[in-house]
């Protein structure tokens, strides 16, 4: 009982705390998602998780939320506890269906209505992502990355997708990736994706702790669309390894509203992964 009282006080005391960079990122993801869309919530990726759940709770009653390897409906749950592993059975308590992984990977049609978030060891100005590794020689990488996992496919099948990184620095945001595991706009030439044989669009944006880039429709190059509160364009430039232009509508990023912030802090992110 005492613990519970203390917990409430801790949360109440927090409402005045301004949104963190990761909470802003989660709000950007949530604002972009529309009701009825299909979205994956993996483990160990707190920002896309929080963004997708925030959309589901605020305006997505008909979203298909794939939590771990289940289909889940979560709007009636007071608190969505985090879990550490995608295989945690604790995450399965809300399941309306189990997805066998091999069947999930055969069922690509649902991704037409899906939104995906792709990370990267490197991400370049044309929105290509690299999870293979860093170095000029594939056989002698200076850093071996985790591998493509499912990003090659998800970024080639999803109706819409974004690049997301929680590390905005010149080592991650590079002029040219060493390897492409997820194809963005290639080398920026018109119609690159269609020409190599893909049918879905390239990335919509790069979401970082400092800002959001979109892509110039004429050059396919990254363009600064919004900067988060208290971040300057010069700071973004200093931390970015590629050259970018400024959007004619450059403005401050719309972060979480008071209601969204409360939902994030009391129902979605109790362990403070976004703090």
């Amino acid at each position: 009982m005492t613990e519970q009282v203390l917990d409430v006080e801790r949360i109440d005391g927090d409402r005045s705390r301004p949104p963190s960079a990761k909470e802003i990122m989660a709000a950007v993801i949530a604002h972009d998602l529309r009701d009825g869309e299909w979205v994956e919530v993996g483990a160990n990726l707190p920002v896309p998780r929080a963004g997708a759940l925030l959309a589901h709770l605020t305006h997505g009653p008909n979203m298909t939320v794939m939590l771990a390897m289940t289909k889940a409906y979560l709007r009636d749950e007071p608190v969505l506890e985090e879990y550490e592993y995608i295989t945690d059975v604790g995450a399965m308590r809300w399941a309306e269906a189990y997805y066998r992984h091999d069947q999930l990977l055969s069922a690509q049609r649902r991704r037409i209505n899906g939104v995906f978030y792709c990370g990267g060891v490197q991400i370049d100005r044309f929105g290509n992502s690299n999870l293979i590794g860093v170095g000029p020689d594939y056989r002698r990488l200076t850093f071996r990355g985790p591998g493509p996992i499912g990003t090659t496919n998800a970024t080639a099948q999803s109706g819409r997708w974004h690049l997301v990184t929680t590390s905005h620095n010149p080592r991650v945001l590079v002029e040219r990736v060493d390897f492409i595991s997820a194809l963005g706009y290639g080398d920026g030439e018109p119609d690159h994706r269609r020409r190599v044989g893909l049918r879905n669009p390239g990335p919509t944006s790069i979401i970082t702790p400092l800002c959001v880039f979109d892509f110039d429709p004429d050059t396919r190059g990254a363009r600064l669309a919004t900067v988060h509160a208290n971040v300057t364009v010069d700071e973004v430039r200093a931390q970015t390894g590629f050259a970018f232009t400024l959007s004619p509508t450059l403005r401050e990023t719309a972060g979480p509203s008071d209601v969204e912030l409360e939902i994030l802090r009391t129902r979605i992110d109790r362990k403070r992964s976004l703090a």
């Binding site: 091999d102 985790p146 090659t152």
Partner: protein
């Protein structure tokens, strides 16, 4: 030992309960094997440790679509010479397997670079007994450059470019499953990950199980049977340790972290002292799975229950 595929001639149904040693004795140097499960869950570890003790070499190891540190262990012990999996790691515990990183960066292992969709396309092709399955995703990426086995071809129906993902043919696969009867009918808890697809691509399937149950119990819920023809069933309670088994126990994080620390030292300094002492204590030292469990201790094991 040889596991007979047909009956023994006695005109009675063959019971398929075998030991870890029986199961791994079907593997010869140079074969392709697969290990089921998913990242930190459901790997047949008592069998993996026996494979290592057997001293097998030059195996092509097909990991899960997202493999865990069981693959790292097979790399660290020199069993694997080629790896087929889109990921080797332990999520929040370690993003990338340390031994995997070490040999990949040194160019000391062959990697079959692929996405999880290619992985299942390859397994599907093997199950269908065709040379490849087509897949679109991957076009325009480095995967088709660094992995020459992913071939771009022109689809004869539409004229569009496609990737031919070659069949991933597996000689023997090893799974860890909740329960089975003595006749090779397996039932998973949870979603079963990619185990069913792995088994369908394999000539032989062996599963370690938490429980062997009477056939009557299988027949009471046949819709739960996920794999119906395992070649052999190995009784191994806590057989997935240090990883989780759905419905039974959680991952042993402290143990996994002790492996990671040992393998990480090899990655960063080249010294195998800590890694070798880990291997001696938990892999080479114990004579069998029961011996391993005694090394871990019942207090640790029973502390891993889910609820």
């Amino acid at each position: 030992m040889t596991i007979p595929v047909t009956g023994s001639g006695s005109n009675t149904r063959r019971r398929r309960v075998v030991t870890e040693r029986d199961a791994t004795s079907t593997v010869e140097d140079g074969m392709t094997i697969a290990i089921g499960g998913f990242i930190n869950s459901g790997h047949p570890m008592s069998i993996v440790r026996q494979l290592i003790r057997d001293g097998r070499r030059d195996l092509t190891v097909v990991g899960a679509a997202s493999a865990g540190l069981e693959i790292d262990l097979l790399i660290a012990t020199g069993v694997a010479s080629k790896i087929v999996t889109p990921y080797v790691g332990a999520e929040g515990l370690v993003g990338i397997g340390p031994a995997f990183r070490r040999v990949a960066q040194a160019g000391e292992i062959e990697l079959f670079e692929l996405d999880e969709a290619h992985y299942y396309a390859g397994l599907r092709a093997a199950a269908q007994r065709v040379p490849f399955n087509p897949w679109r995703a991957g076009l325009g990426t480095s995967l088709v450059e660094v992995n020459p086995d992913l071939r771009v071809f022109e689809d004869p129906i539409t004229g569009e470019p496609m990737i031919a993902v070659p069949a991933i043919e597996i000689d023997v696969c090893f799974l860890h499953v909740a329960r089975a009867d003595a006749f090779g009918n397996l039932q998973h808890n949870g979603t079963a990950y990619g185990d069913v697809a792995i088994s369908a691509a394999s000539a032989q399937t062996f599963a370690s199980v938490e429980q062997i149950i009477p056939s009557e119990q299988i027949r009471a819920a046949p819709q739960l049977t996920t794999v119906d023809g395992a070649t052999g069933v190995v009784r191994a309670q806590f057989g997935a340790h240090p990883f989780s088994a759905e419905g039974f126990y959680r991952p042993d994080e402290a143990h996994i972290r002790s492996y990671i620390a040992a393998a990480d030292e090899w990655l960063r300094t080249g010294s195998r002292t800590r890694l070798d002492s880990y291997l001696e204590r938990y892999v080479f030292g114990p004579a069998d799975h029961i011996d391993y469990l005694e090394t871990i201790g019942t207090r640790s094991l029973f502390g891993l229950y889910e609820y």
